[in-house]
């Protein structure tokens, strides 16, 4: 991709991500929050493409937009009476929370912007998917298996918790 196009794509995706995220935390209607969250996930997948991680972009769309958003929407539908415009959505500590988040932003942002990152000049391998598969099946075999067990336990736990008694 040409250099200006990459910059333009980054700025558009960053603006959509941050604007969507602010809409997620401030929307009056919690259902709208969930839909803005889907927008944020899609634009983060775009950022993954810019970072040359196409497999992660596909996983992001499949897992976050395809599964987690659907789960969240289900939970919102099942817990009704809470989506109305009249229901207050922020608690009493919204202002201190905003100040704390801004302070964290200032501290972390200052650190990140001033630290001298040692950036490598290498370019990533052209096709990362086979390498990822090999790394998961060799170097990261044990974490991979443990992640499978965690998913199974979470699945069983979620069914038991949500089951009608």
């Amino acid at each position: 991709m040409a250099e200006p196009a990459v910059y333009a794509a980054f700025f558009i995706l960053a603006a959509v991500t941050l604007g969507g995220a602010i809409a997620v935390v401030t929307a009056r209607n919690i259902l709208h929050s969930a839909l803005f969250l889907a927008l944020v996930f899609v634009s983060v997948a775009g950022l993954y493409v810019l970072l040359e991680a196409p497999f992660l972009a596909a996983v992001q769309i499949l897992i976050y937009v395809g599964a987690i958003i659907v789960l969240i929407l289900f939970a919102l539908m099942l817990t009704r009476r809470i989506t109305g415009e009249r229901v207050r959505q922020t608690n009493a500590q919204a202002l201190p929370a905003a100040l704390a988040a801004l302070a964290l932003l200032a501290v972390l942002g200052g650190l990140v912007a001033t630290f001298a990152w040692r950036v490598s000049t290498e370019s990533p391998p052209p096709n990362t998917v086979p390498l990822l598969g090999e790394a998961l099946m060799r170097t990261y075999m044990l974490p991979f298996e443990v992640a499978g067990v965690v998913l199974l336990v979470a699945l069983v736990g979620a069914i038991i918790l949500a089951k009608e008694r």
Binding site: S33, A53, Q60, L76, A97, P125, L151, V153, A158, L161
Partner: protein, 102 residues
């Protein structure tokens, strides 16, 4: 090439928005959405470090895959808990679920 710290600043901003969401939302599902925003910010960081600092190793991408896995498990269990709480108390507002608070 886009400087590394632009991605890091974007991730920091997304993380802080997530923190605000977690701290200020009353609805438990809204709190979970804030957590998802924070996890996404972390993943942007991992992929940015993977691309800019160790492009040949792909470690950041592997870790991001595990983060997404755990996020999916967390969302499933969290939302099941929300539904269970709603069934027994008819509310999902975190400031009304205060049985264990004193």
């Amino acid at each position: 090439m886009i400087p590394l710290y632009w991605y890091l600043l974007l991730a920091v901003a997304l993380f802080c928005i997530g923190v605000y969401g977690v701290l200020s939302r009353r609805n438990a599902v809204g709190i979970l959405m804030g957590i998802e925003l924070m996890l996404n910010a972390v993943n942007i960081n991992f992929l940015a470090f993977s691309r800019y600092i160790t492009p040949a190793l792909l470690t950041g991408q592997i870790v991001a895959i595990f983060v997404i896995t755990i996020a999916a498990a967390e969302a499933a269990v969290g939302l099941a808990i929300v539904i269970a709480i709603y069934r027994s108390r008819s509310t999902v507002n975190a400031d009304e679920i205060d049985l264990m608070k004193w």
